[in-house]
């Protein structure tokens, strides 16, 4: 691949409804935070260009609906992700307890080549509400340790006060870069081409097809 081209990375953010997935993404990409709660329906994304180790990277960050009823078409957008960010709310133990099911659902649907080493990052959001914390750091670290041979990175953030959001995403991007370098998502070997069968230019290719729509 030509080096002038940027690396395109796809990152998925998962977690229960209301933990702050959209806010984290907005804080990272737009440096904005809003107290207004707007539910995400289906999936939405933002892109961000960034430079990591002198390398130009375009991130496509997918934010997802925490409420299942809003995923009417399924989660095909998990596919091809280079990394996954799991988010819970440190003031909401239930959102922490759901992490396993989010992780499993992701691995099941995205079906990465090497699920055991797929890069996850865990974010404990809302540290601006430390006094209401109901999930200890220790418990979160324990969870991270229990998942596979290499522990999952754990970062505590506040999307509201922009605490460690940048750092958390930097971590994600670095892991995603390593992942995409080690395992190209899909290895496509083109079928052998016989020299006599030249490619037809598309203008003249399929006049029949263009009849419909």
């Amino acid at each position: 691949m030509a080096s002038r081209r940027r690396a395109l990375l796809k990152i998925i953010i998962l977690g229960d409804s209301g933990v702050g997935k959209t806010s984290l993404m907005n804080q990272y990409v737009n440096k904005r935070f809003s107290n207004q709660y707007k539910a995400t329906i289906g999936a939405d994304f933002l892109t961000k260009d960034t430079v990591i180790d002198d390398k130009l990277v375009t991130l496509q960050i997918w934010d997802t609906a925490g409420q299942e009823r809003f995923q009417s078409l399924g989660v095909a957008f998990y596919r091809g992700a280079e990394a996954c960010v799991l988010v819970y709310d440190i003031t909401n133990p239930k959102s922490f307890e759901q992490l396993d099911s989010w992780r499993e659902e992701f691995l099941h649907q995205a079906a990465p080549m090497d699920p055991d080493n797929f890069p996850f990052v865990l974010i404990g959001n809302k540290v601006d509400r430390e006094s209401e914390r109901r999930v200890s750091r220790q418990r979160a670290l324990q969870w991270c340790k229990s998942k596979g041979s290499t522990p999952i990175s754990y970062i505590e953030t506040s999307a509201k006060e922009a605490v460690k959001v940048e750092g958390a995403f930097l971590e994600v991007v670095q892991m995603a870069l390593i992942n995409s370098a080690q395992q190209p998502p899909e290895i496509y070997v083109p079928e052998p081409i016989t020299l006599s069968q030249a490619q037809t230019p598309y203008q003249s290719q399929s006049s029949v097809d263009s009849m419909c729509c």
């Binding site: 940027r6 395109l8 230019p201």
Partner: protein
């Protein structure tokens, strides 16, 4: 297409061709071959023309294509930036693609890059793209294409603070474009409803159509993301066209979904600002649309928000009124609305009111009232007076009502008792459900742990929990399985705990509360009262103590005044007595003191002999008549002056029994408590004596059904009376316990337990006159001697020996060495009769221990030789036994006892030893 396998094959093939073409496309971009890149991208996009795939599978293929188009976007942008290739040229090149669908995808891809380059105003490009997108009218393909438009232009819409604002357009342009995309998408989606096809596939088509809803809703998300939109703009420019489309499309599925989306994706402030318009839209939805969930989620959302930000509620918006008007309108315009839906709307409204308008009781009452009227209008009626329901309330209505009734319970707790309509609505529920609400009320009261000190409140509370106390009207209260019994136990426990919450500094008021509680609890099922009345008895005993303490303080004050007066006038005893009488008469005249507190009190009056009616009358017709009052009152005076009068040591169960029965019957309908006098510093209305009378009545009423519990309670009352200086009343309570023992306890185990209690209680009572004490102790010992089983007899007679040897040396008439010995000798005789299985040896050792006890306690009748003789006797008995565990056990017991005696003997050598007598014991 239904066959999943065929679907999967088609998807796999599509995926494969997409990968193939994507590979070639990326190779072309690497070589900066724009033309070839377009060609392969076009070929890849051709796959999206398929009609083979279900929406979900199509979505999967679409996502794959989207992933690949990212590379194309990246290529165009770098061509533009690095190779200085103008975007307009690329845009034109894309138009050259002959296939409509691929061309439009390509145009959107390039168009997005074009906007990014800012080489043309965003507005113009967006307009152009939308215009061309109309070319696809196939619903599913059109929906996905429009979704792609929304996707690539996601961060390229002119908006407040975005780089495309200004020359590129304004947020108003963006609103217009997104709204247009929304309207067109919705039209495509709604059109699917009318699609022809085999009717057997209808369900599947419907499901697939529902799957596609996301593609329509995404447009609303886009609108909600525009920074330049505030509540005012939302109200004027966004909500009205959306509602117009939603209402106008006349599609049930679309209407339900889009209303839900509106509520979820826009922030709370927007909803508050535009409530009226939104609610009007709700009312205009098709009748088939379930409006209740829509309103429910709106109210839940706003309610939570306002609950957290109380200032968020605009001053000029009466949200409750608007919501209520909407609900009222819906109910009147939709006659088919089910009753449960109507109630559930009120549930949501009530929840909303309690979050947004806490403390507005009229709102709560209103919602409850609306439900009550709705019930009546649908032909249901409250279950009062134990009538069974004419028509069963549907289950979902019951559940809805339970939810409704539980909301004010949480916020108001006991406050619900002041809601006029609350109890009325409760009565529409079946018995079991009423019980559920009652239990919840009790839990809420208990969780607040605040004392119950208001008479009226106690009255209403206990009235409301009748379903817990009473048996259901149809009489179906089986004792049931373990789970049911556990539930009942829990219920009784809750009631008992609530009883313990009652208290009041004002003893008169406190007493009235107990009386009211007694009335309610007493109406409970017979099986319940033994659990619910017990705590009441203990509360009353506590109250009696409190009142008595106050009375003693009053009396001491009065006595001090009297002494002063006596010193001055050289008063005689007769004068003092006259004064006592005068005081008592005054008490009686106040109407508070009711002397009919049972035989004991009357015995006093009788012996005193100066009562107007005398003892006979008292025994025959107690029950709180004014005459007996007068008779009892002087008795109190007598007690105070320390005069002791021996009550006739009537064989227990005769005259006191008649008295008690009389009291029980007459007082079954307890006289209503007179209203509290409003006077400042009024005299105490209810004396401690009155409380004992109350106790007497409660326990007597329970006695026939629960003799064992009642017997224990009588003994408790006896201790209470004794401790507060009412020896005659204590005597009466004892007599009642004896009557129960004689008449109701037939089980010998229960008899033994009762005797232990009676002996223990008697020993701890300190105030009895010697004659009374002797009568009670003798009676107890007689019961012991009459027990059915010899070993029981033996042990209880032994136990009763202690009744004649008070630990307190100075207690008058409580030490009779002779009778102690008689008891022990009698028990030895009984033990001698029990020879079966060596039981007697065991009993002998037990008796020996008692001998030793009394010997140590310096009972002069217990001679050392008795012990020596008994030890020899036991040895003889034990030695005759065959070796066995029982024998080993007995030997150990004996040796322990002997060891004790030996130790005492050793100590006997010491001059100051208390056990010097042991020197005379030989073993």
């Amino acid at each position: 297409m239904e066959d999943p396998a065929a679907q999967q094959r088609a998807l796999a093939e599509g995926n494969k061709r997409v990968m193939q073409e994507a590979f070639l496309m990326k190779r072309a971009t690497d070589a900066s071959d724009t033309k070839s890149a377009f060609t392969h991208a076009g070929n890849m996009l051709k796959e999206l023309k398929t009609t083979q795939l279900s929406p979900r599978n199509y979505y999967e293929l679409y996502m794959k294509v989207l992933d690949e188009l990212r590379h194309l976007e990246d290529f165009f942008t770098s061509q533009n930036r690095q190779a200085r290739q103008p975007m307009v040229g690329l845009y034109e090149q894309a138009q050259a693609c002959t296939m409509v669908l691929p061309r439009l995808y390509l145009l959107n891809t390039v168009g997005a890059c074009y906007i990014l380059s800012q080489e043309a105003p965003a507005r113009d490009i967006l307009k152009d793209l939308l215009e061309m997108t109309k070319g696809v009218q196939h619903p599913m393909r059109g929906l996905f294409l429009r979704n792609y438009f929304s996707h690539v232009t996601r961060d390229k819409l002119p908006d407040a603070g975005s780089p495309y604002e200004g020359d590129g357009g304004s947020v108003d342009d963006s609103v217009e474009f997104v709204l247009e995309n929304f309207v067109e998408a919705n039209k495509l989606w709604v059109r699917m409803h009318g699609q022809k096809g085999p009717s057997k596939d209808k369900k599947r088509r419907e499901r697939e159509r529902k799957d596609l809803r996301l593609l329509v809703g995404t447009n609303l998300v886009r609108l909600s993301q525009l920074e330049g939109v505030d509540g005012a703009k939302y109200k004027t420019d966004i909500l009205p066209p959306i509602l117009e489309q939603v209402v106008g499309c006349k599609d049930t599925i679309a209407q339900s979904y889009l209303m839900d989306c509106l509520i979820q994706v826009f922030p709370d402030e927007f909803h508050l600002a535009s409530l009226e318009a939104f609610l009007d839209g709700v009312c205009r939805l098709k009748e088939k649309v379930r409006v209740r969930p829509v309103l429910e989620s709106l109210m839940e959302r706003i309610g939570n928000y306002v609950g957290e930000h109380p200032d968020a509620l605009p001053k000029d918006v009466d949200a409750f009124r608007l919501l209520n008007d909407c609900v009222t309108r819906l109910v009147s315009e939709r006659p088919k609305l089910e009753l449960s839906e109507i109630i559930l709307m009120q549930v949501a409204l009530l929840q909303f009111a309690s979050q947004c308008y806490p403390g507005r009781l009229e709102y709560i009452n209103h919602c409850i009232g609306v439900c009550g009227r709705a019930m009546v209008s649908r032909g249901f009626e409250p279950l009062t007076g134990g009538r069974p329901a004419r028509r069963d309330l549907p289950l979902e209505c019951i559940e809805a009502l339970l939810r409704l009734l539980s909301i004010p319970l949480k916020s108001l707790g006991l406050g619900v008792l002041s809601l006029a309509e609350y109890i009325d609505l409760l009565h529409f529920l079946p018995w079991e459900s009423q019980k559920q609400v009652s239990l919840e009320l009790l839990r809420s009261v208990l969780s607040k742990e605040s004392a119950l000190s208001d008479l009226d409140c106690v009255d209403r509370l206990l009235g409301m929990i009748a379903p817990i106390l009473k048996d259901p009207p149809n009489g179906e209260r089986g004792d049931g399985d373990a789970a049911m019994q556990a539930a009942q136990e829990e219920e009784r426990r809750l009631v008992a705990r609530v009883v313990h919450l009652m208290r009041n500094e004002d003893t008169d008021c406190y007493f009235r509360m107990l009386v009211v509680a007694r009335r309610h609890l007493g109406q409970g099922s017979p099986s319940q009262v033994q659990y619910t009345l017990v705590p009441l008895v203990f509360r009353a005993l506590g109250l009696a103590r409190t009142i008595r303490a106050a009375e003693v303080a009053d009396e001491e004050q009065a006595a001090a005044a009297e002494t002063a007066a006596a010193a001055a006038a050289a008063a005689s005893a007769a004068t003092a007595k006259a004064e006592a009488e005068a005081r008592a008469t005054a008490d009686a005249a106040e109407g508070g003191v009711n002397g009919g507190s049972g035989g004991g009190a009357d015995d006093d009056g009788d012996a005193d002999g100066d009562a107007t009616n005398g003892g006979e009358n008292g025994k025959e017709g107690e029950g709180g008549s004014d005459e007996t009052e007068a008779a009892a009152a002087p008795a109190e005076g007598d007690e105070d002056s320390g005069e002791t009068v021996a009550p006739a040591p009537a064989p227990a169960g005769e005259s006191p029994a008649t008295g008690a029965e009389g009291a029980g019957d007459d007082e079954g309908a307890f006289p209503p408590v007179p209203p509290a006098a409003a006077a400042v510093a009024r005299p105490r209305q209810f004396s401690s004596r009155k409380v004992y009378q109350f106790l007497h009545e409660i326990v007597t009423a329970m006695a026939p059904l629960h003799p064992w519990v009642s017997l224990s309670l009588f003994l408790q009352c006896a201790i209470g009376a004794d401790r507060t200086g009412f020896k005659a009343i204590a005597y009466e309570f004892f007599s009642q316990a004896f009557i129960l023992y004689e008449d109701e306890l037939s089980d010998s185990k229960a008899q033994v337990r009762a005797l232990v209690s009676m002996a223990g209680t008697l020993l701890s009572c300190e105030g009895f006159d010697p004659v009374d004490y002797d009568a009670l102790a003798t009676k107890t010992a007689q019961y012991a001697a009459k027990l059915l089983k010899k070993p029981d007899q033996c042990r209880m007679v032994t136990l009763c020996s202690h009744l004649f040897w008070s630990p307190d040396e100075a207690a008058p008439g409580r030490r009779d060495a002779r009778r102690v010995l008689e008891c022990l000798q009698r028990s030895l005789k009984i033990a001698d009769v029990c020879i079966a299985g060596g039981v007697n040896a065991q009993l002998f050792i037990e008796i020996l221990n008692h001998y030793v006890f009394f010997f140590e306690a310096d009972n002069p009748e217990i001679a050392g030789r008795y012990i020596s003789g008994l030890v020899a006797l036991i040895h003889e008995h034990v030695d005759s036994l065959d070796p066995s565990d029982a024998r080993t056990e007995m030997e150990r017991y004996l040796n322990n006892t002997l060891d004790h005696i030996r130790r005492k003997k050793e100590q006997a050598d010491l001059p100051e030893s208390l056990g010097k007598n042991f020197a005379w014991v030989t073993i």
